[in-house]
Subunit: 380 residues, 2 copies
């Protein structure tokens, strides 16, 4: 294998795939990045067997020559050092040559690097997935749906299926649900697909979705998605992102969504975030994050938290509207802030069914998002 | 105690002093910020007994009323929560009132905070130092001298005196020296003082100097400095910064400064930094940071590092000038990078006296800075 490649193109592709390489690999090959060189271009791949990312650099990129291939071939190079050194090479062009036993020479300007390469035959094989079965959606929408639901996914590996986000698609209706049993976040959107594109109750790891979000450019990108029995593939530009689906049965959450409320509030989102944020500061010192919400006789609401050592924060808010029964309820202010910060609406609807039932938070102007937070049972 | 104060002024002063409060105080009072209110203004003080910082907010600031004092008094409030909550208050004005047993009410907009305050009588008393004995120097110069020397101060608390920077001042000649026994950094500058301003061999903690640097505004600030037997006081604008001087005898480093060199190189600073940075990346993987420098017969120099697992980096550089004996030497590349990054000169002089003697690094165009790095004794 021998080629000359533009440093910036190589660097960008390495940065994209490196996220999938293991930082503490069980076997050395999983801590590597595979380089496959053909006369068409250079393919870089990293994989920790759960997630795999592949990026392709064609020899010609627009009217620019990105790579000159002298001799096709493959090698696996240790990711961490490879990622760091390519970025810091002195010249715009990088020459890479693999010699006997995968010893790899990298030359750029007056810098000469010998790297111990590994056998590409030992590298994990990526799942065989046909891209022509993909459906396409807006990258901006996908990123927003990810951001609005992954907050509620569990971080506890003891129930692996809850560390993912439940996906359903039929008739172009795309739905995400995540819950850690203390809170729930759901988001629906209409996507423009054929009716043959459908799947039910697949679970995609929240970690996968976080990494995917970082790979989607900020504006007007399109993402192609293919779902198979146990894998999902995303294509973003020249990057392919594979992830294993999570096993296990996701709990049925449809029954816990309230259909009516005994107390209904509409509040200005920014005012509410700031008030709860101040109460959260106090509640955090007690390590409980408990904040209380109480309706007052004059139609306003009071948000408060207290700490035996520090004191007490009390906030008074005037809701946009308030209907139904008086209420006193306590909740985890960190969970509430997570929800308030991702909902894209200037005003929020908050519905209650007494101090023991889940709190429902929704945008006031559309029904695409719905969040639930279980209250705390407190004595006061 | 009762007053109304502008949030932004209070916030700025709290942020300035908070650095001196203990994050894990031995007694609660040391984790607090003291507020002293008189008809002249508000003084905020924090102290961990080694370092104390005080900031004063006058009632009138230019043509703006910064504070309206209803009733003078004092209280100590827990620093961490106080720092965070003031920043997030909703209105521009903050009302603070101390009630019985130092219970403190803070009101701003529709936010009401009760804080458990502590008795100001228990707060550490600051050293009595007369500011009229101060000499004045440029804040920019002081920050540069700090940055160029603290890199070589020890971080090992077992020899406390080496965690400081040695200061000498006589006849306006101001000198900083720091060493951790593996490397040394020194910086001299002429300051405009009377001959009565002089001190010999005082040692100021590097931590003090780091915190001080952050308090000095970026351009054209003046810093007043007073040195007493065991304390140093800095005045920057309306902030007073007190620090205890370090005890112990600083080692005499004058004898280890070479007076002549067997090999002399002049190198372009940026080219050298980039070459050593690449070699450092490889050496770091071996956890030794060992990088080798070798003169070649053609007048160029080679910088290299190797790792048994990863491979080898070799850099070839053309020096601006090269005189004297051929050389092979090994050194800690992290120490070398620390030095190269703080020296303010486009070209550097590097002097050697064989593979076993300290390496001297100086700017090529002035003698205000001098750095030494001890080489590694290696077998190859």
């Amino acid at each position: 294998m021998k080629l000359m490649i533009l440093k910036n193109e190589l660097n960008e592709a390495i940065q994209q795939v490196a996220k999938a390489s293991s930082s503490r690999p069980a076997i050395p090959i999983l801590g590597g990045i595979k380089m496959d060189v053909t006369h068409q271009g250079v393919t870089l791949t990293a994989s920790d067997t759960d997630i795999s990312i592949q990026s392709f650099i064609p020899v010609e990129l627009g009217d620019k020559v990105a790579a000159r291939i002298d001799k096709p071939g493959s090698v696996v190079l240790p990711a961490k050092f490879f990622v760091e050194i390519i970025k810091k090479l002195p010249a715009n062009e990088v020459e890479i040559e693999v010699q006997q036993q995968f010893q790899t020479m990298i030359r750029s300007g007056s810098t000469d690097i010998q790297m111990v390469g590994l056998d590409p035959e030992e590298f994990p094989v990526l799942p065989a997935i046909e891209l022509h079965e993909a459906f396409t959606m807006s990258g901006d929408l996908l990123k927003m749906m990810i951001r609005q639901t992954t907050i509620a996914a569990s971080t506890n590996e003891q129930t692996p299926v809850l560390t993912g986000v439940l996906w359903n698609l039929h008739d172009g209706q795309f739905k995400f649900v995540a819950t850690d049993r203390h809170r729930l976040a759901s988001r629906t959107a209409q996507v423009d697909t054929d009716s043959e594109h459908r799947f039910a109750n697949i679970v995609v790891a929240a970690r996968t979705l976080g990494e995917l979000s970082r790979l989607i450019p900020d504006q007007n990108a399109q993402v192609e998605i293919v779902v198979t029995d146990n894998q999902i593939l995303f294509k973003v530009g020249r990057v392919l992102f594979y992830s294993r689906l999570l096993d296990g049965t996701y709990p049925d959450t449809t029954k816990i969504i309230p259909q009516a409320y005994k107390t209904e509030l509409v509040l200005d989102t920014k005012t509410l975030i700031e008030a709860i944020d101040r109460a959260y500061l106090m509640s955090r010192e007690e390590r409980t994050n408990i904040v209380r919400l109480m309706t007052l006789d004059d139609g306003s609401i009071e948000i408060s938290s207290s700490s035996s050592e520090l004191g007490r924060v009390t906030e008074q808010l005037t809701p946009v509207s308030y209907e139904g029964e008086p209420l006193r309820i306590a909740f985890n202010s960190k969970y509430m802030l997570d929800t308030l910060k991702v909902l894209d609406s200037e005003q929020l609807f908050i519905g209650f069914n007494g101090a023991m039932s889940p709190i429902t938070i929704k945008p006031n102007d559309h029904d695409h998002s719905l969040h639930l937070i279980l209250p705390y049972r407190t004595t006061s």
